[in-house]
């Protein structure tokens, strides 16, 4: 069933690319069904483990698939985002776009359920291909496609080298999700940085981020939603299942360097987001900032910070996808993304305004929505690890986030109606359904973060001194 999980979207997507005709409802329908089917398959196959031999020399590598705890939530996020993105596709040529979205989902699913490093590296490169072609065909400039592929492929190659080196050193790459494979030795720092740089490109983190604003701005909104929400998590997921478990000594040794990079990203992204005039670029730079916080959490190795990071990975995916889809709706209606021109959409599109409100509030970390819990728990962990100065920077970036989110949101939604822009109807049912699940999930996780945190994605520490808090229930 695990194999079916990966193959279903890949086959469906490839078939779609080969077919003819541009029936929007048909392809959207197939896409949503396939995405939801992967969700069902993932839940059904949650405890499965499937393996077939692959390489015997120069090291052992297997086609080994299985779903870890963090991977499970990422897969749920991925399937949900893909379904929503497919439903939100609005194009005269939807067939190829839906097909590429499914290919993207399939390759990322493969990444998340790989239990073998070599397989992981393979999918890591494969998932670039659909995005590259979408950028080339539908991006705003071919330059964006090349920039994307050069950065990410370079990262992928580093990952491949590091994997090969790991295999040679350790004898096998079939190591993800199984204990007792930590390695040590003179070469390990090099291998660690191979992995780490690859992951930092993908996330991205300063100074490897410059491909990202262009890519996100250039991609069609549904694809930007999936790439921004889920593909950006591939690197962070790699930190969790590869760097942290296989090279724990290195991550402790280089934690300062990672914390510095994360902190710079955090602030750099936040101030850059303050002055962008392209709505999608605001979200892109905010992503740099928010994911920088997760990098810091990973670098501290503090259990509470890691628990918060796991939650924030999901929360960030939800609000990023919702915002990209929502901004896509705005662009469709007003034919521009420029904050200098957009205003007053709320008067004629109250439902769209409401959707953007919730997504934006989640992004700025409003208490009661999922983003807040992630931030709160991560920064609590950062303080516990003794990095109080980093925590100060983190809370400053929270204030900056409220400023850039409101600038974005109010700029689009509030103010007098812009008479030089077209007036189009409010969200249709389809458009509403394509964004509503993401918003509901944000609300649910904000009220009940226990759902993700208690699932064992990360071991939650008991509180350090006393065993309970607030009101204790037996």
């Amino acid at each position: 069933m695990l194999l079916a999980l990966v193959l279903l979207p890949i086959i469906a997507g490839s078939a779609m690319l080969l077919l003819r005709g541009e029936d929007r409802r048909l392809y959207r329908g197939i896409g949503v069904v396939v995405a939801l089917a992967t969700l069902v398959l993932a839940v059904a196959a949650r405890s499965e483990d499937w393996s077939a031999p692959w390489l015997r020399a120069p090291f052992v590598a297997n086609f080994h698939l299985g779903i870890g705890a963090l991977a499970f939530w990422l897969i749920v996020l991925l399937a949900l985002c893909t379904a929503c993105a497919v439903l939100a596709v609005e194009s005269a040529r939807p067939r190829a776009l839906v097909g590429q979205l499914l290919l993207l989902e399939g390759t990322m699913l493969g990444l998340f359920i790989s239990r073998d490093l070599l397989l992981f590296a393979l999918f890591y490169d494969l998932m670039l291909v659909p995005v590259f072609f979408v950028l080339l065909e539908r991006g705003e400039h071919p330059r964006d496609a090349w920039r994307y592929i050069i950065y990410n492929f370079a990262g992928g190659l580093l990952l491949l080298f590091a994997t090969a080196a790991f295999g040679v050193l350790h004898g096998t790459t079939d190591v993800i999700g199984s204990a007792g494979n930590a390695i040590s030795g003179a070469w390990v720092p090099w291998i660690f940085w191979g992995f780490a740089i690859a992951f930092l490109v993908k996330t991205p983190a300063f100074p490897l981020h410059t491909w990202m604003p262009n890519t996100y701005a250039s991609l069609p909104p549904p694809v930007a939603a999936v790439v921004g929400a889920v593909q950006s998590k591939a690197g962070l997921y790699g930190f969790f299942v590869i760097a942290m478990t296989l090279m724990p000594q290195e991550i402790a040794r280089y934690s300062t360097a990672l914390i510095v990079l994360g902190t710079i990203s955090l602030l750099y992204g936040a101030v850059a987001a303050l002055v962008q005039t392209d709505a999608k670029r605001v979200v892109a730079y905010s992503s740099l900032s928010h994911l920088g916080l997760i990098v810091i959490a990973i670098a501290t190795q503090q259990p509470l910070a890691l628990a918060g990071a796991a939650l924030y990975i999901v929360a960030h995916g939800l609000f990023t996808a919702a915002l990209f889809i929502g901004l896509g709706y705005v662009e469709e209606r007003e034919e521009t993304r420029s904050l200098a021109r957009l205003r007053g959409i709320g008067a004629n599109n109250p439902r769209l305004a409401g959707a953007l409100t919730i997504a934006g509030l989640a992004m700025l970390g409003l208490p009661g929505l999922a983003g807040f819990v992630g931030e709160l728990v991560i920064i609590t962990g950062i303080v516990q690890s003794g990095n109080v100065a980093v925590a100060v920077v983190a809370v400053i970036s929270v204030v900056l986030a409220s400023a850039y989110v409101l600038r974005l949101f109010q700029g689009i939604v509030n103010g007098p109606v812009a008479h030089d822009l077209p007036v189009r109807r409010d969200l249709t049912w389809r458009e509403g359904i394509a964004i509503a699940p993401l918003l509901l999930a944000l609300l649910y996780l904000g009220v009940n973060p226990h759902a993700v945190l208690a699932s064992g994605s990360v071991a939650i520490p008991r509180a350090p001194q006393s065993s309970a808090a607030g009101v204790t229930t037996p």
Partner: protein, 661 residues
């Protein structure tokens, strides 16, 4: 329950408590979802919800004040929020008092709003926000832990944001809403930081644990926690220098100003410090800091209140000043006095705002007092309402304000802060001046609404709160019966006059008997100046304030020459006062301009030219002439080949180093 040391109150099942907490949320969701269907009924639904919540609060009175084995209040565990962290509700005297004001005064203001918002195109949305505010504020005061408090803290900020920016097509309202929200987020992260520190020390987010450990924090950590909490309190309660959002927040509809920006939300900082009394009582430096900021705010608000022309801004600065008193009270350790001033202020300030709303409503959204005058005969009920409010806030003996304000001033002295005592007395005199100034200019003399604004010294009528506001909300077609707006004001007159008598009787007063279990019985202070003397000295300052106001605006001669006098004053206003001590300019330059400059540096210089430089060259090279096939053949494949060669070289090097096993 398993761990009694964490529990502040008596743990049990309190369905009323949950009901009163969730009811306004249900009302908000209904008004929001079915607004178009409900139409005017949305107002009545929301009002009914508010009154029901008030009834439930009163019904929970017993559980909030019960005392068993020294435990205090009703404790309702709710949800497992995270492993090891639980959220719950707590109803003790302090939260009970706040819940009563929130739901009680809130219900009256809901009723008033049905009349005030009549005819607005977003009538149902307004009531959805109002009910949502009640829910958020109840979350804030009923939580039994810091995270629940912070959730409420953030949500009231959101409700305030929505309601300040309610008329979202007005750019000034949108800007005011954003400013209020961002400053309040700065406060939120202060509280967040306090949570980090408390969790690090105690491993807990519960009030009980945090306070039980108060004497184990050590001076540095305790001060850091108190300062972090106070940043939150200062932002929410408009304390210097984080007060600049409050005057701008008057862009919201007047009932909002009454409920959120006078009676309830802005006093959340007072609640926070009173709630964390065990922390403050352990730290003299924190007390000094908070007391001083409170005093400075009281004085600043009063000075700026003396020179405003917009009736709502006069009241806004007055609110800021009065909250300064409250913060001074709870800051120096006179918790019962500070909380009492919140209690009485909620009535008389809500009444003043609602009274000003009657005027604004009757004058088609005119807010500039220079264009009023002589309204005593035209709006007799509004005059009486405002008069009672003014007398109460000035501290005329027997009215509510006198009891609580004198208690705060005396408290500052009793706790060893003679300077704050003096500030309190001087501010009382200034309060009397600006309040009577407002009264004389608004209600006496001749009506000046027909005079050309420039003759009154109004240079930019479109910005000065004049009739240019008439496009807000379309009030012209209102047909709401007058009693809808008059009745709540009339009801509020009663507590505005009498609420203070709860404090009568010194240590045996009902107020003290109610709060002594919460804050502990104060040790009899070595009082250098008696309470009677304090009251008399304060009254002397108040009398001087009223007299000056009378001489400047109230005498027959002053009324005759009012137009000329107002023009001269407007034109000749000192820039430092006209710019409200330049706080806005300074905050803007320090934070807004700086971060925007950094942002431009990053996105126009660093990102494109420094960080990205080399790779961009590669991208341009790879892109070649732009033809896909050619670039595949030239740039891209070559790059790939180079990488591959480097990789093989690495492997070779590896084997060369390690040899073959």
């Amino acid at each position: 329950m398993a761990n009694p040391e964490h529990v502040m109150g008596v743990v049990g099942s309190y369905p009323l408590l949950i009901a009163l907490w969730l009811l306004p949320l249900a009302g908000a969701v209904l008004c929001w979802a079915f607004g178009p269907q409900l139409k005017r009924a949305a107002g009545w639904l929301a009002t009914a919800v508010a009154f029901a919540a008030f009834a439930l609060t009163v019904a929970s009175w017993g559980s909030g004040t019960q005392s068993l084995n020294g435990a205090l209040g009703a404790d309702q565990p709710l949800v497992r929020w995270m492993p090891g962290f639980h959220l719950g509700l707590l109803l003790d005297p302090l939260s009970l008092l706040w819940a009563c004001i929130i739901t009680g005064v809130g219900a009256l203001i809901h009723l008033y709003s049905i009349g005030y918002m009549e005819g607005d195109s977003a009538f149902a949305r307004f009531f959805a926000y109002m009910n949502f505010f009640l829910f958020a504020m109840l979350t804030l005061v009923l939580s039994d832990n810091f995270v629940g408090l912070l959730i409420g803290w953030g949500l009231v900020g959101l409700a305030s944001y929505f309601l300040i920016g309610f008329w979202f097509y007005k750019p000034s309202a949108v800007a005011a809403a954003r400013k209020a929200f961002v400053i309040n987020v700065a406060g939120d992260v202060g509280i967040m930081f306090a949570i980090f520190l408390i969790v690090q020390k105690t491993g807990s987010i519960g009030f009980g644990n945090a306070f039980a450990a108060a004497d184990t924090y050590g001076p540095t950590l305790l001060l850091a926690i108190c300062i972090s909490l106070f940043i939150g309190a200062a932002a929410k309660s408009a304390q210097v220098p984080l007060h600049t959002w409050l005057p701008d927040a008057m862009e919201g509809p007047t009932p909002v100003s009454a409920l959120i920006h006078a009676a309830t939300m802005v006093t959340a900082g007072v609640y926070l410090i009173a709630r964390c009394a065990p922390l403050w009582s352990h730290d003299g430096n924190a007390q000094l800091l908070v007391g001083t900021i409170g005093g400075v705010t009281a004085l600043t608000g009063a000075v700026l209140g003396m020179v405003q022309w917009d009736i709502k801004r006069i009241l806004a600065y007055s609110t800021m000043s009065q909250i300064g008193y409250m913060i001074m009270g709870v800051g120096v350790g006179a918790y019962e006095a500070g909380v009492a001033h919140f209690f009485t202020h909620a009535f008389f300030k809500a009444q003043l705002f609602l009274g000003s709303g009657l005027i604004i409503h009757a004058l088609a959204n005119e807010q500039d007092v220079r264009r009023m005058g002589g309204l005593r005969k035209r709006l007799p009920f509004a005059f009486i309402a405002m008069l009672v409010g003014v007398l109460a806030i000035c501290g005329i003996p027997g009215l509510s304000g006198s009891f609580s304000k004198d208690a705060v001033i005396q408290g500052a002295l009793n706790h060893g802060h003679p300077w704050l005592y003096a500030v309190g007395i001087v501010t009382a005199g200034m309060t009397a001046y600006y309040m009577f100034r407002m009264l004389f200019v608004t209600f006496f003399g001749r009506y000046r609404g027909e005079i050309d604004p420039s003759e009154l010294g109004i240079r930019h009528p479109e910005f000065a709160g004049t009739a240019a506001h008439a496009d807000t909300g379309g009030h012209d077609s209102h047909h709401a019966p007058a009693w809808l707006m008059n009745l709540p004001v009339a009801i509020l007159i009663v507590p505005s006059i009498f609420a203070g008598w709860l404090l009568y009787g010194g240590a045996d007063s009902p107020w003290h008997r109610f709060f002594d279990p919460q804050f502990g019985v104060a040790a009899p202070a070595n009082v250098p100046i008696s309470e009677l003397t304090t009251t008399l000295v304060t009254l002397a300052f108040v009398a001087v304030g009223i007299l000056v106001a009378y001489l400047r605006y109230g005498t027959a001669a002053a009324r005759e020459s009012a137009v000329e006098r107002l023009r001269r004053e407007s034109v000749g206003m000192w820039p430092i006062l006209a710019n409200a001590f330049y706080f806005d300019v300074a905050l803007d330059a320090l934070f807004v301009k700086t971060s925007e400059m950094l942002g431009r540096l990053v996105s126009r210089v660093l990102d494109p030219h420094v960080v990205d430089g080399t790779v961009r060259e590669a991208a341009i090279a790879a892109q070649g002439s732009g033809a896909l096939v050619r670039s595949l053949q030239t740039g891209f494949v070559r790059a790939y080949a180079v990488f591959l060669a480097v990789g093989i070289a690495c492997f070779a090097a590896f084997y060369a180093f390690h040899g073959v096993h």
